[in-house]
């Protein structure tokens, strides 16, 4: 048996063991699994996965399970049965070229049904929609089971035209497990959507996630991806813009120990007059490894596109590694696209200035590190989320100091 068929073989049993779903979902699962079996897990020979080695996942025998799902929706949000979402579920997040999306789709509605929400057209929500996927310790560490737990959270959010909402997705857990998440968001014309993803998985967990966003005309979408936990993390955020769309992708990743965090983003300016702003910041310590790959596509039609991408990294140790790469594919001529990446250390002069005022060296380092993350935190508009983020960062940098 080749390595690939061996990998697939491990999943076949789990795939065939699951309860059958309704007709179209079962068909979707099967074609997704078929595709997964054809392509197998990516290797570092794959350009998209050059810096992220998923061999540890490919080699492991998993059992399919599900996370606890906590859903908190303000009045007016409709929760749909996934079987009623045939037109959208699996429509945007394509699995033909991504093994992880294929695998997630193959386990659609496994044990816990996919989260499918609709915000009616024109509805303005003051309170955020909160979706939390949590892997409980007793589920991850079941003594009866020898295989590692894999969960495949799936989310679809349909935002009607001119609606306004805030979505907070949180991933957390305790133990050694694999979260393989897919989120699809369809933003209607003229809608305003603010999305937050807080990734706080256990430091032993694997977290692979794709978010696919289809943004309507003159709509405004912003994403804030905060990655704190996980041993091996890969986030793909793919946004497709329409005419006059405004998209903002912000990100913050903080990695220490031997954490590996990879952020891949694709901003696809498919139509004219789109604007995109992207700011990803990373803080790396110890032997951590981070990857940032920001692709910006400006299609032939997409004249008057205005796009700005920035990636800044603060490296606190000699052994931490960052691979950062912009990828511009510009096919239109009347556009403005800028990009820049920096990798730096704490500023010695700033440290000395603080020390010269009596602030101890480790406190000064913490303050400066915290300050580096501040502008991304400041962009978080949900007060309670910003507060908890500030607390998490504060604790994180405090524990670093010792």
């Amino acid at each position: 048996m080749t390595a690939v068929t061996e990998q697939i073989g491990r999943w076949v049993a789990e795939f065939s063991r699951q309860e059958p779903a309704g007709p179209w979902i079962q068909r979707l699962r099967e074609s997704a699994f078929q595709r997964f079996a054809e392509i197998g897990f990516p290797t570092t020979h794959d350009e998209e996965w050059r810096f992220t080695n998923v061999a540890a996942i490919a080699r492991t025998t998993f059992r399919a399970g599900s996370p606890d799902k906590l859903l908190c929706t303000p009045g007016g949000v409709e929760e749909l049965d996934p079987s009623d979402a045939e037109a959208h579920l699996g429509h945007d997040a394509a699995f033909d070229r991504n093994a992880f999306v294929a695998l997630n789709t193959a386990f659609l509605n496994h044990q816990v049904s996919a989260t499918v929400l609709r915000i009616p057209r024109g509805m303005v929500l003051e309170e955020p929609i909160e979706i939390t996927y949590e892997v409980a310790e007793d589920v991850a560490c079941d003594p009866q089971e020898s295989a590692m737990l894999a969960v495949h959270p799936r989310t679809l959010i349909l935002v009607g035209a001119n609606a306004q909402c805030t979505i907070v997705e949180t991933y957390k857990g305790t133990g050694t497990y694999f979260t393989n998440a897919v989120t699809e968001i369809v933003v209607g014309d003229g809608a305003v959507v603010d999305h937050y993803k807080i990734q706080q998985e256990d430091s032993r967990a694997y977290h692979i996630a794709t978010m696919q966003v289809q943004i309507g005309r003159s709509a405004n979408f912003s994403s804030h991806s905060i990655s704190l936990g996980g041993a091996l993390v890969r986030n793909d955020v793919n946004a497709v813009l329409s005419e006059g769309t405004e998209a903002t992708l912000n990100g913050l990743y903080i990695a220490n120990g031997t954490q590996h965090i990879d952020n891949h983003t694709v901003i696809d300016h498919a139509k004219p007059h789109g604007t995109s702003h992207e700011l990803y910041k990373g803080i790396l310590d110890d032997q951590a490894h981070a990857v940032f790959n920001g692709r910006i596509i400006v299609r032939k039609d997409a004249q008057k596109t205005d796009s700005k991408q920035t990636n800044k990294n603060l490296v606190l140790s000699d052994e931490a590694v960052i691979d950062t790469k912009p990828e511009l594919q510009i096919l239109a001529d009347d556009v403005r696209c800028t990009h820049g990446a920096t990798i730096g250390q704490l500023d010695a002069e700033s440290l000395f200035y603080m020390q010269s005022r009596g602030i101890g060296k480790s406190d000064a380092r913490n303050l400066l590190t915290y300050a580096f993350a501040q502008d991304v935190v400041d962009r978080v508009k949900v007060q309670s989320l910003r507060d908890s983020l500030e607390r998490i960062l504060f604790e994180k940098f405090h524990e670093h100091a010792h």
């Binding site: 700033s350 020390q355 009596g358 602030i359 000064a364 400066l368 580096f372 502008d375």
Partner: protein, 256 residues
């Protein structure tokens, strides 16, 4: 006992020797002006006293309140009462001026065995000192020095000094970039802090500041050495004659 005693201090940056044997003794309550041409080592001396690691002391010693100052970390020096007003105050985006100053004041107080101030008492102290420096209170909520004008930065330094109440204040070209009104205010702030127990080293290129902050002693630094010392009248003399007598030609050509 003297407050600060510098003996034959040599310091270098990289391979280059910048301080080449400084001797200086400062007693409690005294104000010493250090003057000298650009590049003579004034800022280096100030930074070495504050503990900047960039400058390596190759020989000599510095005794502060009977202790070996050079063995202390920068933060311990600050806690022991040394304050440096920077020639170029550092911008620190993301850290609010208020948070920064409160953290500084409370560590300094703690090390002196004084109770830490709560938010309310801190604010009233800060407001009083800001008034003294005629500073705009909105600067408190801004990140440290970030986007401040040159004058605002210099005021902010002296404001910090007023809050921290050091025993030895080192002012590095606090006058540069100030117009005459701002200079008066800043000098007023400094003079308000003059005290029989507090000493100051006032580094300046120009005599102008010394009309407002009148020193007890004036020293001329040239090429890393004190080449002349005297009373306040020495500053006036320099105003007349310039530094031409004190720097060799090679150096003079290099510095414009």
């Amino acid at each position: 006992m003297s407050l600060l005693e510098i003996k034959d201090l040599h310091a270098k940056v990289g391979e280059r020797e910048i301080l080449r044997g400084i001797d200086l003794t400062i007693n409690p309550g005294e104000v010493h002006a250090i003057m000298g041409p650009n590049g003579s080592g004034k800022s280096t001396l100030a930074q070495v006293l504050a503990g900047r690691e960039l400058y390596v002391v190759t020989s000599g010693e510095v005794i502060y309140e009977g202790q070996d100052l050079l063995a202390m970390s920068p933060e311990d020096r600050a806690r022991a009462g040394i304050f440096l007003a920077f020639q170029y105050p550092v911008e620190i985006p993301g850290v609010s001026n208020m948070y920064f100053l409160k953290a500084a004041l409370n560590t300094v107080r703690k090390s002196r065995g004084i109770e830490e101030l709560d938010a309310f008492d801190f604010l009233s102290l800060v407001k009083e000192k800001m008034k003294l420096m005629e500073m705009d209170q909105t600067l408190l909520n801004r990140p440290v020095n970030t986007g401040f004008s040159g004058g605002e930065k210099k005021r902010n330094e002296i404001f910090q000094m007023a809050v921290l109440e050091p025993r030895l204040a080192i002012l590095d070209e606090t006058d540069s970039g100030l117009d005459i009104d701002a200079l008066r205010t800043v000098a007023g702030g400094v003079n308000a802090l003059r005290d029989p127990e507090r000493s100051m080293i006032v580094v300046t290129h120009y005599q102008r500041l010394l009309n407002y902050i009148v020193p007890d002693f004036v020293h001329v630094l040239s090429e890393g050495r004190i080449v002349k010392s005297g009373g306040k009248e020495l500053a006036l003399e320099l105003e007349e004659s310039g530094y031409s007598g004190f720097e060799d030609e090679e150096e003079a050509v290099g510095k414009v």
